[in-house]
């Protein structure tokens, strides 16, 4: 079902973790849909010096997170904005049709983290980023995603 590249990035994900003093943090998706991506960026002089992620989700979600962080590291913000879900998918040698939404999530997670960076730095917000298109139609803005439905107790 998954390409070898996907399986490689799933089994050996690059850039897993947090960045304590991140310059931008974005989280998209929600637990209801089964996918949450949280992206941490370290940005210096408009260049993405480091990127890390945490992901709750399926194999494709983990692999696209991993690939997306790989693709944006060392890029300028402008360049990072060009990393669409299509680019991530191609870098992974494709995804099964039912998993395409995961790559959309990766694109949106980057966008959300960049938006957070702009906001923190008083930069003009990118009106291209209108919030997540929604893995399952239920998503709203970045803030809304954060921590939703994450407070129920497992027995």
């Amino acid at each position: 079902m998954y390409s070898e590249k996907v399986m490689d990035h799933f089994m050996n994900p690059r850039n897993v973790g947090e960045i304590e003093d991140a310059d931008g943090v974005g989280q998209v998706g929600n637990a209801k849909c089964g996918d949450i991506m949280k992206m941490y960026l370290k940005i210096e002089d408009g260049i993405i010096k480091d990127a890390k992620f945490k992901t709750f989700g399926c194999g494709a979600a983990v692999a696209t997170s991993s690939m997306a962080t790989e693709l944006i590291k060392g890029k300028t913000i402008k360049e990072a904005e060009q990393i669409t879900n299509r680019v991530v998918m191609e870098a992974l040698d494709g995804l099964p049709p039912v998993k395409v939404h995961c790559s959309v999530l990766a694109e949106e997670a980057i966008a959300a983290a960049l938006q957070d960076y702009r906001r923190r730095n008083g930069l003009e917000e990118d009106d291209r980023y209108k919030g997540c298109s929604g893995c399952c139609g239920g998503c709203g803005s970045v803030e809304m995603h954060h921590g939703t439905e994450n407070d129920e107790e497992a027995e």
Binding site: Y2, M11, A31, G34, F56, C58, G59, N150, A154
Partner: protein, 398 residues
């Protein structure tokens, strides 16, 4: 990554036992005649089919072999039972009752009938996945044409009080169907004692062939045909009989009934060993379904903060085959409707794993499974933003 395969997904499908395969073989290559033919090669086939019918009738406790109809799958049997009853009783009414944890073979069939103008009542289950016969009693109306409640659930293994539900239905004079696809060959079935009118079986859940099934239709029960055509199955299910498939299903069910005690003991012990290992060594785990009224080989657990497919894939990399919810519904984004029905929140339902043990499994395999899960959960939780939030929250509370 180890090469050997460890299969813990017997509820999805089983291999065909060598004895079963050997029983089927001659009907592919030598005894290939059409059972409807009058000449001798066809007649030996006819006899094979009728012997299989007698054997299945015995395995299920049917009063007569003529109550057994061979189908092309468990799904076909479910479709036939429900649509056939609905059609035959159209004059009586257009109300159908089922439960919230049915397999798609029943659920989608009921949904289809709903689209056709039938009223559908979906009985809820309790937190263990049990249907309460009282709820069925209350749901039955004068225009109810059929009640369909599964005997044992494919995801959480819960075994329903079928006899009691059948009594309720009989009291009201309403037809009762049970999808026994997971039950057959795994727990004893006696259709006479249960008092059901219709019961579905699938061959590939007890070491028989895929693409085979049975619909038990109690004598005197009239439902419309589902597959129309030739005169096979006493004019009730058309299509040239799948002779090797029928022979294989009957043989597999026979073996399963013969070995039922040992099968139950072995699977229960493996299941309990896995359960103990997992709950003792992994925190934030929930066991889904009833522990008493449960299929011997079924274990269903939810691991908080992680997503089920990731667990499955990592297990697969270690050679371990399991399932997250039902195999049939993989590819869907929604978590299992069964886990939601027993009250699990979405995110916990997403992190569920179904292990279904079988006769080839060993204690060593179970121990390897537990070790693997410990390692995998550690890795995935460290990657999970939900776990991060949870830990930070915990720390804050300290």
């Amino acid at each position: 990554m180890q090469k050997q395969i460890i299969y813990f997904d017997h509820a999805a499908t089983t291999y065909v036992k060598p004895e079963v395969f050997e029983a089927m073989k001659p009907y592919f290559l030598q005894e290939y005649g059409n059972p409807s033919s009058i000449y001798s090669i066809g007649r030996s086939n006819r006899k094979a089919v009728e012997d299989a019918r007698i054997s299945v009738a015995k395995s299920l406790g049917a009063a007569e072999p003529s109550e057994i109809y061979f189908t092309g799958s468990g799904t076909e049997a479910d479709n036939w039972a429900i649509k056939g009853a609905a059609q035959a009783l159209r004059k009586k009414g257009k109300h159908i009752i089922t439960s919230s944890i049915e397999h798609p073979a029943v659920m989608a069939t009921c949904e289809f009938l709903k689209k056709e103008g039938y009223d559908l009542t979906i009985i809820p289950v309790d937190s263990e996945g049990l249907v309460h016969p009282d709820d069925v009693d209350k749901a039955i109306r004068p225009d109810t044409v059929i009640v369909s409640i599964m005997m044992a659930n494919n995801e959480i293994g819960t075994i329903q009080p079928i006899k009691e539900i059948a009594q309720v239905c009989r009291k009201h004079g309403v037809l009762f169907h049970t999808d026994a696809v997971q039950a057959a060959g795994n727990i004893p079935i006696d259709v006479k004692d249960l008092g059901v009118d219709l019961l579905s079986v699938s061959g590939h859940k007890f070491y028989g062939p895929k693409g085979t099934g049975v619909l038990y239709i109690r004598k005197g029960v009239r439902i419309e045909n589902f597959i129309h055509g030739g005169h096979q199955e006493r004019n009730r299910r058309a299509g040239t009989e799948n002779v090797p498939g029928i022979v294989g299903l009957a043989k597999a069910l026979e073996l399963a009934v013969e070995n039922m005690d040992a099968h139950t003991r072995k699977l229960t012990s493996l299941r309990d060993r896995a359960l103990k290992g997992i709950t003792e060594r992994i925190p934030y785990v929930r066991v889904n379904g009833s522990l008493e009224r449960r299929l011997p080989g079924n274990l269903n657990v939810s691991f908080r903060f992680v997503e089920g497919e990731s667990v499955l894939l990592m297990l697969d990399m270690k050679g371990i085959k399991a399932s997250s919810g039902s195999a049939c519904t993989s590819g869907s984004l929604d978590p299992s409707h069964v886990l939601l029905a027993i009250g699990l929140p979405h995110e916990i339902a997403h992190g569920s794993l179904r292990l279904s043990f079988g006769e080839i499994n060993t204690e060593e395999e179970v121990d390897y499974l537990v070790d693997s899960l410990v390692e995998i959960l550690d890795k995935l939780r460290n990657m999970s933003p939900l776990y991060e939030d949870f830990v930070k929250g915990e720390n804050k509370n300290v």
